[in-house]
Each structure stands twice: as structure tokens, then as C-alpha cells.
Amino acid sequence: MQTIDLTQVGLRETNKTLHAQSGDTNQTAWEIVNPRGSHAIACGLDAPIEVIVKGSTGYYCGGMNQQATVNIHGSAGPGTGENIMSGKIVIEGDASQYLGATGHGGLIVVKGNASSRCGISMKGVNIVVQGNIGHMSAFMGQSGNLVVCGDAGDALGDSCYEARFFVRGSVKSLGADCEKKEMREEHLVLLQGLLDEAGIDADPSEFTRYGSARTLYNFDVDNAGAY
């Protein structure tokens, strides 16, 4: 285990060191201590390493991640895992707004709650939240899965495309063009897989699926007067 004290080493050196790790590095286990809510910790990683951040982080932790696993032993600030491509981010506490925004792939797990705009414009990332999520989550979500074991706030999935949302608790309101959908066998299997991967014990049959009603996809001549 390599330990980096962020207050001693500084953010740029820390990220530079992590960026220098290649696919065949022997130093696969890293620990960052004293994060003190700093921004952009462990951003832009691209190697199969595991980074544990011992404390709470600020903006954009684990942003643009590829291959790496980032564990945050605390709460995470706005934009955590923004544009994640692959790999895994696990947040032991709560996540602030726009978690995993525009994420293309990989998995983000939140053990606490996620705030507003969780998974906004998601493009293939899977997000599993053990608690609740805030308003405007998965706005314009294009693909990927958002799993919520608690409740969802206002306007879930507003103007979404093909992203899927599984919510166990209540949904305060659905956004424009988002609707409740049937839970078929294939969805139960998919959801069980996501819960297993996230290490969360929950029964897929207790969840409701939501997704796009697909009425905003194409220009409709009957709406011409509205423009």
C-alpha cells in the first residue's frame, strides 16, 4: 500500500503520481490521507489501481475515471465521478449534486444519499444509491442504469432518452416524458446483477422501473404552433 499525505504532497503531485501508473504497474494499492475536502482528487486515472481516500472530498473526485477503483471514506462534493468512462467509485457517505454527470461507463456506488441532478445526462454509467436521491436526477439521461434503494426527488428522468431508473421507494414526481414501466424478467436479472456488483442486499422485485415515454424524440408537426 502506497500512502500519500495530500497536505504534504499537494494535489498536482498526487494526481501526477497516480497518472504515472500504467496497466502493468505493481503498485496497485494507494491510500490518500488528509483530503480535507480538496477538489479534483484522483481525477483522470487510467490504470487498474485501487485508491482509497481517507476522508471527505470536494468537487470532481474521480472525474473522467478509467479502469481504476476509487473508494471515498467520507462524503463527496459536487460533480464526483463526472464523465466516468469505466472502473468504479464507491462513496461511503453522501454524494453532493450532479454525481456521475455525463458518465459513459463504469459503476458508482453511494452508501448514503445522493443530492440533486444525480446522473444528469448519463450516457452509459451505472449508479447505485443505497439511500435517496434529490431533484432533477437523470435529466436527459441517455443510457445506463440508475438504481435507488430509497426515494427519488422531484422531476426524475426529465427529458430522458434510453436510461433506465429503478426506484425502491417513492418518487416525488416524474419529469417530462418519464413514465412508470413494467418490470420484466430481463430487468430483474439486470437489477440483481447491479445490486450484487454494488454489494447491496436488496430484493429486485421491490423496485419499480421508470424510463422514457419516447414522445419527445422527434419533432411533431402538431406541436409547430408551440414554437
Binding site: 480535507r36 475536502g37 480538496s38 476522508g55 471527505s56 472530498t57 470536494g58 468537487y59 462524503s75 462534493g77 459536487p78 457517505g93 453522501d94 453532493s96 449534486q97 443530492s115 440533486s116 434529490g134 431533484h135 432533477m136 422531484d154
Partner: protein, 309 residues
């Protein structure tokens, strides 16, 4: 952008450290607001008298002999305690309106920052570190205080455009965000007879709350109606004589983190601002909900009221 910090002490033994803790929180928020900074601090009861914080760009001229001139005009003892560009006036109770009128007459370059029994507001243009140093904020004690670092978007970088804004006796407001209907609301409030000094959007927010409360609303009710009447982005933190409150607009783009232990309740625009607080690792840390008014007071139990968006 802007940064906000707030600290409300439950444990009286921390009171001598309030200024020091708030200064550290404020300086951490420098990169959210390097233009100007300000702090409102509640402490030093004036024992039956009223305090006014005033500011002047030419303090040597304006504050010399001010105590005698005011004492003569108001009839009663007046103390003037100068701190850099600011001065704390201690006046006979109930004389703030007279004092304001007198100041406008004898020394029009003096600006009133705050009034109340325990509130003092210090704010200036410059880096938060330099502003805090100028007024020796770190040596102040008190029961609670709020601070602001400003990155101006809606109006000029001036002392009067800096936060906190005084909204009424012992009340103040800081703001992160931008109000988009401040011009029309300023016209409306001016027609209703409310004094608004600058073209700043937050001053309109502050004046709006003052106006609501003059018309009988409690601070909590005024904050709730602000959710209907103010258009734009805002996280507001308000200070009162015995507590502080937090409200975010329904969209809640502007960041906010709160922490609570048995010793204090703290607010920060980011978690970074809170990391030097005592035993922060054991605190309950959470993000305040949008369109919800939170309140902590030394006199009553904490309250939360949600307003339908």
C-alpha cells in the same frame, strides 16, 4: 461564485474562539470570492444601549470628534470605537434613526453598516485574509457569526456591495447566487418607501426581507415568501440576535454543506471550509434541502419548514 460560512455555537466555552474559527473558515473560501469579504459577528451585548457599525473611506477625518458631535445631537453618552475603516458607535437605546439622520447631515461620507444590540458587521474590498486581518476578526469572541467572500457578478466591487447586508435591528443576510428580478423588485420596494442604496442584487434581497418583516412577517415567513417572490439563484444565510437560518432556492445549484455536533452548527459553501472545526470528523454532515427554511436559535429548538416549490 461567492463563498459563505456560518458558525453557531451551542457550547459557551468555544465563544472566545468564534472569531478565530470563522476567520479560518472565511480564508478557506478565498478562491470562491477574492474580491471582497465581510463578517457579521454577534457578541458583546451593549447593556441597554444600541450599537451601530459605521464605515468611512476617510476614517481619520470622519471619526475624529464624532462622539461629541453625536452626543450633542442625540442627548446622551455616545462611545466611538474605531477599527480601521470601521467604527462601532454605542448609542442611547432607540436612537439609531436619529443617529442615521445626524450622520447624513454632519458627515455624509459615513456609511451605516449595521445596527442592533449585539450585531457588528465588518466588510471591505480585498482578499478575505487581508479583510480579516484589518479588523482583527480572529481575536473577536461571540455566540455566532456569518461571513462571506465575494466574486461579483451583478454589480461593482465596492465596500457597499460586499456582504453581509443589514436587514433590520440585529439582522443580516449573506447571499451566494444572483437574483434576476432585482431591478423590478427594487423599483417596487422603492415605491413602497424602502431605502435601497446600491444597484446590488443582494441588497434588494435584504431590503425585501426587511420590508416583509416591517409588514408583520416573522423572519421565517419572510424567507418562505422569498421563495415565491425572488427569481434567480440563491443560497441565503441570515443572522439574527439569537440564531441563524439557511434557505436555498428550489433549483439549489449553489453548493451548501452543514455540520452539527453537540458544540456547534456550522455552514459552509464547501466542506473544505469546515475541516478545521473541533471534532469535525464526528459531526453529522449533510446538505440542506432545496426550498426548505432551516433555523437554529439559542432560545428555541431547531426548526425546519419545507415550502412547496
Amino acid at each position: 461564485m461567492c463563498g459563505i460560512v456560518g458558525l453557531f455555537l451551542k457550547d459557551k466555552s468555544l465563544e472566545p474562539q468564534l472569531g478565530d474559527l470563522l476567520t479560518k473558515m472565511l480564508v478557506t473560501m478565498t478562491d470562491r470570492g477574492p474580491d471582497s469579504a465581510g463578517i457579521a459577528i454577534y457578541g458583546r451585548e451593549s447593556n441597554g444601549k444600541t450599537k451601530m457599525t459605521v464605515q468611512s473611506d476617510t476614517p481619520d477625518e470622519d471619526f475624529a470628534g464624532l462622539d461629541k458631535a453625536l452626543a450633542k445631537a442625540l442627548g446622551g453618552d455616545v462611545a466611538v470605537e474605531v477599527s480601521s475603516t470601521h467604527a462601532i458607535l454605542t448609542l442611547p437605546a432607540g436612537k439609531t434613526a436619529d443617529a442615521r439622520a445626524t450622520l447624513a447631515e454632519i458627515s455624509p461620507s459615513i456609511r451605516v453598516m449595521s445596527r442592533g444590540d449585539s450585531l457588528e458587521i465588518y466588510k471591505e474590498v480585498g482578499l478575505p485574509e487581508n479583510v480579516a486581518e484589518r479588523f482583527k476578526i480572529d481575536q473577536m469572541s461571540g455566540s455566532h457569526g456569518i461571513g462571506h467572500t465575494r466574486m461579483a457578478t451583478e454589480s461593482a466591487v465596492t465596500t457597499m456591495g460586499a456582504h453581509p447586508f443589514n436587514t433590520g435591528d440585529d439582522q443580516c443576510l449573506v447571499h451566494n447566487g444572483s437574483l434576476s428580478n432585482h431591478n423590478s423588485l427594487r423599483r417596487k420596494l422603492r415605491r413602497a418607501g424602502v431605502h435601497i442604496e446600491t444597484e446590488n442584487d443582494t441588497e434588494v434581497g435584504a431590503a425585501y426581507l426587511t420590508w416583509q418583516m416591517q409588514n408583520g412577517a416573522t423572519l421565517g415567513e419572510a424567507l418562505e415568501s422569498s421563495l415565491d417572490d425572488l427569481d434567480g439563484f440563491f443560497t441565503f444565510v441570515v443572522g439574527t440576535k439569537d440564531g441563524f437560518g439557511v434557505v436555498r432556492d428550489p433549483i439549489a445549484c449553489k453548493p451548501a454543506v452543514m455540520a452539527e455536533t453537540d458544540q456547534y452548527v456550522a455552514f459552509g459553501s464547501e466542506y473544505r471550509a469546515l475541516v478545521d472545526l473541533p471534532r469535525i470528523e464526528d459531526a453529522r454532515v449533510w446538505e440542506p434541502e432545496p426550498a426548505t427554511v432551516y433555523f437554529w436559535s439559542h432560545d428555541t429548538a431547531p426548526t425546519t419548514s419545507e415550502k412547496a416549490a
